[in-house]
C-alpha cells in the first residue's frame, strides 16, 4: 500500500471516529466541534492559496465575512434561506465569496510574496471597514443577530443535528478540494508554488491559475461564512476583523500547509485551546501563542510533518547503527 493510500485511510478513520464520538459528547463539545469544523473549511480555503499555490493571504476573513453577512441579512430582512431555500443561500454565499474574490483578485494577484500578504490585508480591512461603519446595512458595531436556524425536515435547533449538517459540508468541501489539488490544475498550482518563472516559460498562464485558485478559495470562504452565521447566531465586525484572517492562516501553518487536513488539525487545536482550555485555566493564550511560536521555530512543515520527521529520525538512527548494510542497499 502506498503511503498516500495509508494517509487517506487514516484520515477517513479519524473522520469516522469523530462522527461517532462527537455526538456522544456534551452539548458544549458538540458546539465547539461545529465551530471548529466551520473554521476548518475556512482554513482549507487558505491552504489552497498558501500550501498549494504559495500565496499567503491575510484577508481570508473578507470572504468569510461576506458569506456570513449575506446569510444574516437575507434571513433577518427577507426571511430567505430558512426553508429549503437554505441550499440556495449556501449557493449564493459561495457565489458572493467567489465574486468578491474575483474582484479582489484583479488587484491582489498582481502582487507576490510579502506584497500579496499586505494587499490581502488591505482588502480585508476594506471589507471590515464597511461592516463596521455601514450601519444601515450591517448593523454597525452591534452586528446582526441570527436568532433562527433553517428548518427543512431536519431539526437544526438540535446541536447534534446541526453538527452533522456542518460535518456534511465539511466532508464535501474536503473531498472537492482534494480532487482539485490532485487534478492537473492542482499540479500546475504546485508548480507555480515551486517555481513560477519556470511554469511561465513552459507556457502556463500563471496569472490565470493563481486567479482561479484565489476565486475558488473565496467561494469556500463564503461557504464557511454562511455556516458561521447559523453556528454563531451573530454576525458582527468581529467576524471580519484582521485577527480572523490571521487565525485562519495560523491554523494552516500549525497543522501543516499543503496538506488540506493540516488546517483541520490547526482549527481543532486553536478552538480546543481557546474555547475549552480557556474555561479551565486563565493563561490559555500563553499556550496558544507558545504553540504558534514553537511550531514556526521548530516545525516548518507543521504538526502534520511530525510523522515524516520521526521517519527521518528513524532512518538516520538505523543508518548510524549499521552503516554497512545501508550503504550496500543504496549502492
Amino acid at each position: 500500500m502506498s503511503s498516500e493510500k495509508i494517509k487517506i485511510l487514516v484520515v477517513i478513520a479519524v473522520l469516522l471516529a469523530l462522527a461517532y464520538i462527537i455526538p456522544h459528547s456534551t452539548s458544549f463539545v458538540v458546539l465547539l466541534a461545529t465551530r471548529a469544523l466551520v473554521f476548518a473549511i475556512l482554513a482549507m480555503s487558505v491552504d489552497i492559496l498558501l500550501g498549494f499555490t504559495g500565496l499567503a493571504s491575510l484577508g481570508q476573513a473578507a470572504y468569510f465575512g461576506i458569506g456570513a453577512y449575506l446569510a444574516a441579512i437575507m434571513t433577518t430582512r427577507y426571511h430567505f434561506g430558512l426553508n429549503w431555500d437554505f441550499w440556495l443561500l449556501i449557493f449564493l454565499g459561495m457565489l458572493a465569496g467567489a465574486a468578491l474574490a474575483a474582484f479582489f483578485g484583479l488587484f491582489a494577484i498582481r502582487a507576490s510574496n510579502v506584497y500579496f500578504l499586505m494587499i490581502t490585508l488591505a482588502l480585508g480591512q476594506c471589507v471590515w471597514g464597511l461592516a463596521y461603519r455601514w450601519s444601515s446595512l450591517t448593523g454597525g458595531d452591534n452586528g446582526i443577530n441570527v436568532p433562527v436556524r433553517p428548518s427543512f425536515g431536519l431539526d437544526l435547533t438540535n446541536e447534534r443535528t446541526f453538527f452533522f449538517l456542518v460535518y456534511g459540508f465539511f466532508i464535501v468541501s474536503l473531498l472537492l478540494l482534494y480532487i482539485l489539488v490532485r487534478s492537473p490544475f492542482g499540479h500546475s498550482l504546485a508548480g507555480i508554488r515551486e517555481r513560477e518563472l519556470r511554469m511561465r516559460i513552459l507556457g502556463y498562464n500563471t496569472w490565470l491559475h493563481k486567479y482561479i485558485a484565489f476565486v475558488i478559495a473565496g467561494a469556500f470562504g463564503g461557504l464557511a461564512g454562511v455556516l458561521w452565521a447559523f453556528t454563531n447566531g451573530i454576525v458582527s465586525p468581529e467576524t471580519v476583523v484582521l485577527t480572523t484572517s490571521v487565525d485562519a492562516l495560523l491554523m494552516v501553518v500549525l497543522g501543516g500547509a499543503g496538506t488540506l487536513v493540516g488546517g483541520v488539525v490547526g482549527a481543532a487545536i486553536v478552538f480546543g485551546v481557546r474555547e475549552y482550555l480557556s474555561t479551565l485555566v486563565p493563561w490559555w493564550q500563553y499556550v496558544l501563542g507558545g504553540i504558534y511560536v514553537l511550531t514556526i521555530l521548530y516545525l516548518p512543515s507543521g504538526l502534520m510533518g511530525i510523522p515524516a520527521h520521526i521517519r527521518q529520525w528513524w532512518i538516520q538512527k538505523s543508518k548510524d547503527k549499521n552503516p554497512k548494510k545501508l550503504a550496500s542497499v543504496t549502492s
Binding site: M118, I119, L242, P282
Partner: protein, 286 residues
C-alpha cells in the same frame, strides 16, 4: 460646513497623523532594512502605553513615563529580534507568523499584568488648555503631539542623512547584500533598527494613550493603520512615512466627518490601489 469646520478637521487630522508617523516610521524602517512584516508592531504601541501607566502609577511623573516606556519596549523588541527572529533566517512567511505568535503572547501578558479595563494616560493639567486663535480652539495636547512628531522626525532624518550609521542603514535598505559586501555589519543594523522601531511605536503608545485610551485590542486596531501609513508612503522611506502618516491622518478624520458610512473604506481602498500599481509605495525605493 464653514472654514472653521475645515480648519478643525484638518488640525485633528494632522495631529492624528503625527501619532501615526511615530508608529508607521518604525514599521517602515524595519521592513526596509529587514524585509520583515512585523505584525507585533501594534503590540509595541499597546505595551508602551501600559508601561507608561505603570510608571505614572509608581512615580507620578508623566514626563518620566515617556522615555522609560519607550526604552523598556525597545529592549523587548531587541530581545525578540536577537533571540527569535535572527536565528529564523530569511523566510518572510515564517517571520510574519512568528511576529503574530508574539503579538498573541504580548496580548495575554498585557491582560494578565494590567487587566482588561480601558485606562487613560493623564498628561499634566497644563495640556488641558487650548490655544485660541480667532475663536477656534486648538487643544494644547494635540499641538504637543505635532511638535513631538516633528522633533522625532527631524532627529531621525538627521541621523539617517548625516551620520555614518544612518548611511549604513540607507545602504542596507537599498541592497542588503551589496551593503554586506562593502563591509557594513547588516546584522547590527537590523538589531538597531528593530529596537528603534519598537522604541518609536511605544512612544506613540504613550503619547496616543492620552486620547485613544489604552485597552486590550488596541494593538490590532493600530496595526492596519500603521500598515496603511507604510504602504502609502513607501517602505523604508522616512519622508514617505511622514507623508503617508499625514495622508492617513487626514483621510481618517475627513472620512469620519464627511462620509461616516464608508470612512474606513476610503482609508484602505487607496492602500489597495497603491499596492496594486506601485507595490513599493509612493516614495519607496525600487
Amino acid at each position: 460646513m464653514d472654514t472653521k469646520f475645515w480648519i478643525i478637521q484638518a488640525f485633528n487630522g494632522i495631529s492624528y497623523g503625527a501619532l501615526l508617523f511615530l508608529v508607521g516610521s518604525g514599521l517602515s524602517l524595519i521592513f526596509g532594512v529587514m524585509r520583515i512584516v512585523n505584525l507585533a508592531h501594534g503590540s509595541y504601541f499597546l505595551l508602551g502605553g501600559y508601561v507608561a501607566l505603570s510608571v505614572i502609577a509608581a512615580t507620578g511623573s508623566w514626563a518620566l513615563s515617556i522615555p522609560t516606556a519607550a526604552l523598556a519596549v525597545a529592549i523587548i523588541g531587541l530581545l525578540m529580534e536577537r533571540i527569535f527572529l535572527r536565528p529564523l533566517g530569511f523566510d518572510p512567511l515564517r517571520q510574519v507568523l512568528l511576529t503574530v505568535g508574539f503579538a498573541f503572547l504580548f496580548q495575554q501578558a498585557a491582560l494578565d499584568i494590567w487587566g482588561g479595563n480601558n485606562m487613560d494616560i493623564n498628561p499634566p493639567a497644563v495640556f488641558n488648555n487650548s490655544i485660541v486663535i480667532d475663536s477656534v480652539y486648538f487643544p494644547l495636547y494635540r499641538v504637543f503631539m505635532i511638535v513631538m512628531a516633528l522633533a522625532i522626525g527631524i532627529a531621525l532624518w538627521l541621523a539617517m542623512e548625516k551620520t555614518r550609521v544612518g548611511a549604513a542603514v540607507r545602504a542596507t535598505v537599498d541592497d542588503a547584500q551589496m551593503a554586506r559586501g562593502v563591509g557594513i555589519d547588516t546584522n547590527r543594523i537590523s538589531m538597531i533598527i528593530f529596537a528603534l522601531g519598537a522604541f518609536l511605536a511605544a512612544l506613540g503608545g504613550v503619547i496616543g494613550g492620552a486620547f485613544l485610551g489604552i485597552y486590550p485590542g488596541l494593538d490590532f486596531e493600530m496595526l492596519p493603520l500603521a500598515f496603511a501609513v507604510v504602504i502609502i508612503g513607501g517602505m523604508g522611506s522616512l519622508g514617505g512615512a511622514a507623508i503617508g502618516a499625514l495622508a492617513v491622518g487626514l483621510a481618517d478624520n475627513f472620512g469620519k466627518a464627511l462620509f461616516p458610512e464608508v470612512s474606513y473604506f476610503t482609508l484602505y481602498a487607496p492602500m489597495v490601489l497603491i499596492l496594486a500599481i506601485k507595490p513599493t509605495g509612493l516614495f519607496g525605493r525600487e
